[in-house]
């Protein structure tokens, strides 16, 4: 299970929100890669059909 948030313990031992989990960094990176790949494929298909990809 992916952790979305980071937590820390405050002075009284209570769990408090500390920020986004940095384990998410690869997911944001690969989301970028995925969008680029999808666009490359779509642009290639449109070019084959003779349309502009503008």
């Amino acid at each position: 299970m992916i952790e979305v948030f980071r937590y820390s313990s405050d002075a009284w031992g209570q769990r408090s929100l500390a920020g986004m989990s940095w384990d998410l960094l690869p997911y944001f990176f690969y989301a970028g890669v995925a969008i680029i790949v999808v666009h490359l494929v779509a642009a290639w298909l449109l070019k084959r059909r003779g349309h502009s990809d503008q």
Binding site: F5, D10, S16, L17, A18, G19, M20, W22, L24, L25, F28, F29, A31, G32, V33, I35, I36, H39, A43, L46, H51, S52, D53, Q54
Partner: protein
Amino acid sequence: MAAHILRHALIDRIFHWLTAACVLVLMATAFLPILGIKFSWVTIHWATGVVLGIAVLIHVVRALVFQRATAIWVSPRDLGEGLSNLKAALSPAGRAIKPGKYSLAQKSMHLLVTILILAVLVTGGLMMVRVDTPFWERNPYWLTEAQWGTVYVLHGLAALTLVTTIMLHIYFALRPEKLCYTRSMIKGWLTESEREKNHDIQRW
């Protein structure tokens, strides 16, 4: 020699590349330590953030006072044109509509980067209260733990989203049909034929 049409004034190009440099430094100082490359990053990070904040402030004032700010903002008309252009790309029966100075994609990228940069600047500015600087001593009790947590979540979420956004921005800047826009962000101009091919001159 082809006629050159000014697309980006020198001051706007300087702002773009200064912003790009700041964002790359901020991302490197934020994420390299997380990836295991340890160095003293805090001072470089907040000082670069201050430079970015000043640059953005100057850009906002220039855009609102000296430029036509609405030229870059997404309007309902842009969305309609974007839909028409999508239909035209997918079907020979569709009719492509040339944009004015900026396309829907360019306006959308500007809007997304604006939201993300403002989010990291505002939350980063708040986070500086917790850092010793030459101007003040740190005060970690200025907000409650829960409030600080929310600030850190927003800062982190905007920073992570910037990773994806910057990747896409660089990808589109390097695509062959977009290289004229990248050149215009370096040299300032498009050729007359590039403008005629891609833009509605009446709405430039």
